[in-house]
């Protein structure tokens, strides 16, 4: 009876998501910084060329008797834009008067100073242009005049290089992200390995296994381990106390019941009154049933307790079966039920706690006898296939009715067709617990032609 957990999220998913988010942020930062650095580098380079062109023109300006002469070096324009694919505009002014070039090319906002060119970007003729501007003092007609040179180029080449850089930066970012994603999955897996191993080890435990968990775990799991072991210890304590209580209770009930039974038998022998005898007989039956239930409770407690702390030994199954069947002979004889044992000559040996096996056998055969009709046969068949010992108990009783075998073996659950027979509902539970502890299997089903067929498979020693 497992409680189905609805997990509140997954640590691995959380870990992976967090790592991916971190990776994405880092990849984004990488992309942005690579782009920024690349753009700055490209712009600086382009400005350097633009500046060289501007200065080259300014250097060739000559004052003279008959006004200003200019000599634009061919290379000054030819070299603009690495690919030669940029539009080029220029403007040369003497004072505020444009002497040549594009007269509407905008001037810089701030006045120019020094020998170094100034750069600025603006819109011109439908394109964004980068302008380099430099001014010189030139002697024209014997007067010192400020001559300004502006050279502007569109940013086609720069944009193309920037786009290429952006693509490379994006590829780099994506590559980084993909790499980080793979790493994060591995990391999550690696981090969760101890936890998974612990969960697996706990999952493999049998239902009765209440030993403390003794595993080397990472520091972070130590508190969980301590809490788990503390819990297990408390559970064991509680179980032990319960079983002890049941044992004590059964014991304390059985002793006075035996006394009552003896007293009732003595009384029956001493009276001739039929009505009284009938009453006494009922009392004896009731006492018997109570004693049986108490016995089964005791058995069950024993099984639960001993499954935990077993005294394993080599048990020969054949003689044990015969012994148990023998012990039922008086009860069976009273109702004319024949008990037939069919066991092979070879020794079928199990490595297990003798008391537990005996208790399982007793309960099986007790059930078979109890639910058999008078004057019928109960067959106990023992066989082996080399790996498992197979014990079948077959009766011609009332069968298991509509209830399925899983329900029947539940504690205090009884079949729906047994209302008239006294029972505790513990018998099959005991059988199941023993089978589990030994690592075998137990099945109970309708027998062909009526009755019940109980099959016990127990691993050989």
């Amino acid at each position: 009876m497992m409680t189905v957990f609805s997990p509140a999220g997954s640590i691995r998913r959380r870990l992976v998501v967090i790592l991916l988010v971190v990776a994405a942020v880092l990849a984004g930062l990488l992309f942005v910084s690579v782009r920024t650095v690349a753009n700055t580098a490209v712009e600086t380079t382009q400005d350097a060329i633009l500046g060289a062109a501007t200065v080259a023109i300014a250097e060739e300006l000559r004052g003279g008797e008959d006004g200003l002469t200019i000599d634009i070096p061919y290379a000054a324009f030819s070299m603009l834009g690495a690919t030669g694919q940029d539009r080029v505009f220029y403007r040369i002014l003497v004072g505020a008067e444009t002497v040549t070039g594009y007269a509407d090319l905008p001037l810089p906002d701030a006045p120019l100073s020094g020998l170094k060119p100034t750069f600025f970007s603006q819109q011109y003729d439908g394109d964004v242009v980068r302008t380099g501007a430099v001014s010189r003092s030139v002697l024209v007609d014997g007067r010192s005049q400020i001559v300004t040179v502006l050279v502007a180029q569109t940013r086609t080449a720069q944009d193309a290089i920037s786009r290429q850089m952006a693509n490379q930066a994006a590829t780099l970012g994506l590559g980084f992200f993909a790499f980080a994603a793979i790493l994060s999955i591995f990391t999550a897996r690696s981090v969760l390995t101890p936890l998974n191993r612990l969960a697996e080890a706990m999952g493999r435990r049998g239902p009765q296994d209440l030993r403390p968990v003794d595993r080397a775990v990472p520091t972070e799991l130590a508190p969980l381990m301590q809490a788990l072991n503390g819990f297990i210890a408390r559970l064991r304590g509680a179980l032990t106390r319960t079983e002890t209580f049941i044992t004590e209770a059964a014991h304390h009930v059985r002793t006075p019941l035996a006394t009552v039974r003896v007293q009732a038998e003595i009384a029956m022998r001493q009276t001739d009154d039929d009505a009284l005898r009938a009453t006494l007989r009922n009392i004896i039956r009731a006492v018997d049933d109570s004693a049986r239930s108490a016995g089964q409770l005791l058995d069950h407690a024993t099984v639960v307790y001993r499954a935990d702390q077993r005294a394993d030994e080599l048990v020969a199954l054949g003689p044990l079966v015969l012994d148990v069947v023998d012990s039922f002979s008086p009860t069976a004889d009273m109702r004319d039920i024949a008990l037939r044992v069919d066991a092979p000559d070879e020794v079928i040996a199990l490595q297990f706690d003798r008391l537990l096996i005996e208790s399982a056998l007793r309960n099986l055969i007790d059930n078979a006898v109890k639910y058999s009709y008078a004057d019928s046969i109960v067959d106990v068949q023992l066989s082996t296939d080399g790996t498992f010992a197979k014990l079948q108990v077959l009766d011609r009783g009332r069968g298991i009715g509509d209830g399925n075998s899983v329900q029947l073996v539940a504690r205090f659950k009884r079949g729906e067709n047994v209302g008239d027979v006294v029972g505790s509902g513990l018998g099959l539970t005991i059988v199941r617990d023993v089978t589990r502890a030994i690592g075998g299997s137990f099945d109970i089903k309708e027998r062909q032609g009526g009755g019940t067929c109980a099959i016990l498979l127990l691993p050989l020693a």
Binding site: S78, L80, Q85, R87
Partner: protein
């Protein structure tokens, strides 16, 4: 057969729309849609291409207008409506594209062009023509010069033989002449020395390659300098005049096309451009017009061949002040009164 109307002869006449002048206009009737091309290339040279284009694009009437490269430039600067502008003046075309007069166009055909044969998806070259020297073998005793240095030596050795018999473009009038002269000047100092030497020989200045070739063939000229090879190769065969690709360097002119921003049927302009650049169009350019197709392998095979780069460097000599200075220097060197 297509009905071809030659609307105007070889007379210069002012167009109605603007101040630019055209030389000739031909309408190749096809259908409702009209594609108008402004070009520096003569109608008869382009006619086979136009016929092939109309064969694969039926329903297109093609108006083909011929003007000088300066007038093509002027027309587009005045925003005259043409769907395609074809010119041999690379500098003017690049200036138009740089100043925003062209619209971009991208297709598989333009993408297939080598990088040096296009600029910004706006300017596309469809032929490469070496700028050559035409020499009369007789004038050079059967040993025409192979480099500019050799030419200078020959001219210096026997100036009397060449006085008045050297021809070249007048860069003040001819756009192509100006482009060749400026490219020469920037390529090497030898060209200035050559200009000085030629200047001492009272050179004759021309405005077209054709007339120079004719005069060499007729023996009036001993040598014509900076002639478009495509015109020459068609007309020189077996005669006295030979075509020389100078081995020190020979510029290669790229004939370019652009789609003006004023195009009314830019789609048709683009279709014609793609046709020009397609394998079929290129084959026709080479076989029917005599203009060599764009061919990277041919350039690689001739180490002396220098295609004039389609880049903003071409803008330098478009500057009015630069132009004035250059022409002053050139005149001082060549026109020695």
């Amino acid at each position: 057969m297509r009905h071809i109307i030659i609307a105007a002869g070889l007379t210069l006449w002012a167009s109605i729309a603007g101040a630019y002048e055209i030389e000739e206009e031909a309408v190749f009737e096809g259908g409702e849609a009209e594609l108008s091309i402004l070009s520096t290339t003569d109608t008869e040279v382009f006619a086979p291409l136009i016929a092939a284009f109309q064969a694969s694009n039926p329903g297109v009437t093609l108006r083909y207008t011929v003007a000088t490269s300066q007038q093509v430039f002027a027309a587009l600067q005045e925003d005259a409506a043409f769907d395609l502008a074809i010119s041999s003046a690379m500098d003017l075309q690049l200036k138009l594209a740089n100043d925003g007069f062209a619209v971009p166009h991208a297709s598989t055909e333009t993408a297939a062009l080598p990088d040096w044969a296009r600029w910004r998806d706006q300017l596309f070259a469809f032929s490469q023509e070496p700028v050559v020297i035409i020499a009369s073998k007789a004038a050079f005793d059967g040993k025409p010069p192979r480099t500019r240095a050799e030419l200078i030596d020959v001219l210096r050795d026997d100036p009397a033989r060449f006085v008045g018999r050297i021809g070249t473009y007048d860069p003040m009038i001819s756009g192509a002449g100006y482009l060749f002269a400026t490219q020469d000047a920037r390529q090497s100092d030898t060209s200035w020395r050559l200009a000085e030497v030629v200047g001492g020989l009272n050179p004759k200045l021309f405005t077209t390659s054709g007339s120079m070739i004719s005069e060499v063939q007729s023996g009036e000229l001993a040598l014509a300098y900076n002639v478009l090879g495509s015109y020459a190769s068609q007309r020189l065969s077996g005669g006295d005049a030979v075509m020389i690709e100078a081995l020190d360097f020979t510029h290669v002119l790229l004939r370019t096309a652009l789609i003006p921003r004023t195009a009314e049927r830019a789609d048709l302009g683009a279709t014609f451009l793609d046709f020009l650049l397609s394998a079929e169009g290129q084959q026709l350019v080479e076989n029917e017009t005599g203009m060599p197709r764009i061919n990277e392998a041919a350039l690689a095979a001739g180490p002396h061949l220098r295609p004039i780069r389609l880049d903003p460097g071409l803008l330098v000599f478009m500057d009015p002040l630069m132009r004035q200075q250059f022409l002053n220097e050139w005149t001082a060197a060549v026109v020695q009164d």
